[in-house]
C-alpha cells in the first residue's frame, strides 16, 4: 500500500515536471492583426487590393469580472497595452501619427490611460516584456486620442485596423471603452 502511494506520488511529480519543461498555453493568448484586414488570408486567395501596411502582435488579457480602466489599469500610469511580451507594431511603410512622421520598422506600443483621453506611446525598445522597465528616453512619439464608449462590454482586449479616407485607424477596445488611433499614409 505504502509503496503504491509512493509510486503514485512519483508518477504525479514526474508528470508535473514534464509539463513544466515545455511552455504552457498563456492565460492571455497572443494574437495578430493586419492592415489590410485579413491580409494573410487575402494573400493566399490572390484577392489583395492594397499593399501590406502594418501588423500588430499583442496579448489579450480578459476582463474576468474585474473593473479594468481606473481599476486594474490605473489612470495616469504607463500601461503595457496588452500582456506578457510588449505589444509590437510592424510598419511596412512610412506613416504619420498625429502629424508626426514614423518610418517603416518595428516598434513597441504603450498607453497612459485617463478617463477621457489616452496617450499612445511609440517606443523603439523591441523584443521586451510588458512596461515594467519602460524607458521614456526610447520614445519616438506620443499622441493623444479621445476615449469612446463601446456598444457593449468587450471581454478580451481587442486590436483591429480599419480603413479611413487618409489611411487607417488602429481601434483598441476593452471592457466598455475604445480608442481609435489614426495613421496617415
Amino acid at each position: 500500500m505504502k509503496r503504491s502511494i509512493l509510486c503514485l506520488a512519483a508518477i504525479f511529480i514526474s508528470a508535473v515536471l514534464y509539463a513544466q519543461s515545455l511552455p504552457p498555453v498563456d492565460k492571455s493568448p497572443m494574437d495578430m492583426s493586419y492592415y489590410p484586414n485579413n491580409y494573410p488570408v487575402l494573400k493566399i486567395q490572390d484577392k489583395l487590393t492594397e499593399p501590406l501596411v502594418a501588423r500588430v502582435i499583442y496579448s489579450r488579457p480578459q476582463k474576468a469580472g474585474r473593473a479594468i480602466f481606473g481599476g486594474l489599469v490605473k489612470y495616469g500610469e504607463v500601461w503595457r497595452f496588452g500582456a506578457n511580451e510588449a505589444t509590437e507594431i510592424d510598419l511596412y511603410k512610412n506613416v504619420k501619427i498625429g502629424g508626426k512622421k514614423l518610418k517603416a520598422g518595428r516598434y513597441t506600443l504603450y498607453a497612459i490611460v485617463n478617463e477621457n483621453t489616452w496617450t499612445i506611446i511609440v517606443n523603439k525598445e523591441t523584443d521586451t516584456w510588458g512596461s515594467f522597465k519602460y524607458d521614456a528616453k526610447k520614445d519616438l512619439l506620443r499622441t493623444q486620442v479621445p476615449v469612446q464608449k463601446t456598444d457593449g462590454p468587450v471581454e478580451s482586449l481587442s486590436m483591429v485596423f480599419e480603413k479611413t479616407a487618409t489611411g487607417m485607424n488602429l481601434v483598441v477596445a476593452w471592457d466598455t471603452v475604445k480608442v481609435t488611433i489614426p495613421f496617415n499614409f
Binding site: S4, P29, D31, P40, D127, G152
Partner: protein, 214 residues
C-alpha cells in the same frame, strides 16, 4: 494500483462536490452584487472587434525568455531568433490518425503561417540561411519530417506556395512517453547553437541551427 488511483480521483470529486454546492448556496443568499464593477461575460461571447482564436498564438525566443531577460537587464545582446506560431490542440484527436496525413504539407501551427525570424545569419545542415523572416512548414513522413523554409511571409498557413520555397531540411522524428495537448515550438540550447523543438501528441522533432562564430 488501478484501484488506488480510482479512489484518489473519486475522493477528490467527493471533496470538491460539496465545496461547489456550498459556494452556490452562499451566492444565492447574498444581496445583488454591484453590477457596475462586476460584469460576468462568458469567455467565448462574440467579440465585435476581433474574435479570440481557438488556437492561441504564441511566441518563442532564442535565447529562451529573451523579453524577460531584456526587461530584467540580464542580457544586453540582441535576440538570435524567434518563432511566432499558433497552437492548435488535440481535443481528443490523435495527430496522425485524425489530423494530419503523411507526405502532405502541414503548416506547423494554425491560422497565420508560422514565422521564423532570424536576427543573424545561421547554418543548418551545412546550408547558410540569411537573417530575415521566413515561413516554416513541414511535410511529415512516418520516420522523418521535412521542414521547409519559404519566403511567402505574412500569409495564411493553409496551402503554402511551393514556388516560394527557399530550402528544406529532413530531420528524424521520435516518439515521446508523454503526450502534449497543445502543439509546441520552442528553442533549446545546444553546444553549437540551438534546436527548434517541435512537439505535439507523442511526437518530437528537432531542427538543429548553428550560429556561425563571428
Amino acid at each position: 494500483m488501478k484501484t488506488i488511483s480510482f479512489w484518489l480521483i473519486f475522493s477528490l470529486i467527493l471533496g470538491l462536490a460539496p465545496a461547489c454546492s456550498n459556494k452556490e448556496n452562499k451566492e444565492e443568499k447574498k444581496p445583488t452584487p454591484d453590477t457596475t464593477t462586476r460584469i460576468n461575460i462568458p469567455v467565448n461571447s462574440i467579440n465585435p472587434y476581433t474574435i479570440v482564436d481557438i488556437s492561441p498564438m504564441d511566441i518563442s525566443y532564442f535565447p529562451a525568455d529573451y523579453p524577460i531577460l531584456k526587461m530584467e537587464k540580464t542580457i544586453s545582446t540582441l535576440p538570435l531568433a524567434r518563432i511566432v506560431y499558433s497552437r492548435p490542440h488535440l481535443q481528443g484527436r490523435r495527430l496522425f490518425q485524425n489530423l494530419l496525413k503523411y507526405d502532405e504539407p502541414w503548416r506547423l501551427g494554425a491560422n497565420e503561417s508560422t514565422e521564423l525570424e532570424l536576427y543573424t545569419d545561421v547554418s543548418i545542415q551545412d546550408k547558410k540561411i540569411k537573417a530575415g523572416r521566413y515561413v516554416l512548414y513541414c511535410i511529415p513522413h512516418a520516420d522523418t519530417w521535412t521542414v521547409v523554409f519559404n519566403t511567402n511571409t505574412d500569409s495564411w498557413g493553409l496551402h503554402p506556395d511551393p514556388t516560394k520555397d527557399l530550402t528544406s531540411f529532413t530531420i528524424p522524428v521520435k516518439q515521446t512517453t508523454n503526450r502534449l495537448e497543445y502543439f509546441t515550438m520552442v528553442f533549446e540550447n545546444t553546444a553549437t547553437g540551438t534546436d527548434i523543438v517541435m512537439a505535439w501528441d507523442n511526437l518530437e522533432a528537432r531542427l538543429p541551427i548553428i550560429f556561425p562564430v563571428k
